[in-house]
């Protein structure tokens, strides 16, 4: 039983680390502020949630796992608010989003 539990929890933690890695790659690769916000907030949140769910499965049903589930809940509540505040502040201060069709047009002109 514990063997299967360990395997599943390791699987979840590895998937979470993969999402965090993809988020970090996204910050470097994506072109502008708004799409970078996608990269960092989404992949990171999903990564953290997967890692914590993995730890919950490792822990079993105890008080610590309930506390970990509360952390998941608070991340899921606070992350969209923070992301929205950042994106809204950027839009209000006049930062225009980058559109990929513009780039295609510019390349066609050249």
């Amino acid at each position: 039983m514990t063997e299967i539990q360990h395997i599943i929890s390791i699987l979840f933690v590895v998937i979470g680390i993969f999402f965090m890695f993809v988020g970090s790659v996204g910050i470097i690769r994506l072109p502008d502020f708004y799409s970078r916000t996608h990269g960092i907030s989404k992949s990171d949140t999903l990564g953290i949630i997967f890692v914590i769910v993995g730890l919950v499965i490792y822990e079993g049903f105890t008080q610590s796992s309930l506390k970990l589930l509360l952390i998941v809940l608070f991340i899921a509540l606070s992350n969209p608010v923070g992301t929205h505040a950042l994106a809204r502040a950027a839009l209000k201060s006049g930062l225009n989003p980058f559109f990929s069709d513009d780039e295609i047009k510019e390349e066609a002109k050249k």
Binding site: V22, P31, S35, L46, K67, H84, L91, G94, F99
Partner: protein
């Protein structure tokens, strides 16, 4: 200033008490008594904040929420987040990186400010879409590629949010506008 109903006060007391028990882990009389005193203090400090109305259609409790529907919504949302997460991860990791950044603007027909808050948070929580601005009933959403905003444009997610509060189904999204080329705004 409006008064809080006993339902709302009871709900916040029970949820704060559950939070206290999960945090402390002791179930004897002294610890529970300290919890009751602390929860009462927190509720007293937050009373003015809870009675203040930020929007004209604010709700003071969750009596309009359909609880069974809310559980289904949370599970459905987790499924959406995971599938969209793998989709976005695939886009970022591909060497060609096929992104088509798009701004989607639309007007919503939802019953309260809470419903709009749930929709905005759900859109931001789903990978690939990001609520940039909510102005009254008008949403501005930034999307990473064409597949990401399909769920919003096809009215699926807004309808799920509407079902949380009302039984009848109707078209939620109006005045849809999809911007793909710069220069259309500002």
């Amino acid at each position: 200033m409006n008064k809080l109903s006993t339902y709302s006060l009871g709900l916040s007391f029970i949820s704060l008490m559950i939070f206290w028990i999960v945090m402390s882990g002791f179930l004897d009389f002294i610890h529970l008594g300290m919890g009751v005193i602390t929860v009462a203090g927190v509720m007293y400090v937050n009373y003015q904040l809870k009675t203040h109305r930020f929007f004209h259609d604010d709700m003071d409790d969750l009596s309009e929420l359909r609880v069974g529907r809310a559980f289904y919504y949370v599970l459905w949302m987790i499924g959406q987040i995971v599938t969209a997460g793998f989709h976005v991860a695939g886009i970022i990791i591909k060497p060609s990186m096929p992104i088509h950044t798009t701004i989607v603007k639309f007007k919503t027909d939802l019953p309260s400010a809470h419903a709009r808050m749930i929709l905005g948070n759900s859109i931001t929580l789903t990978p690939g879409t990001l609520t940039v601005d909510i102005d009254g009933e008008y949403f501005t959403v930034h999307s990473l590629d064409d597949k990401s905003y399909k769920g919003i444009v096809s009215d699926k997610m807004p309808r799920e949010v509407l079902k949380l509060f009302q039984k009848d189904e109707r078209q939620v999204i109006h005045e849809l506008e999809i911007i793909k080329i710069a220069g259309k705004e500002n």
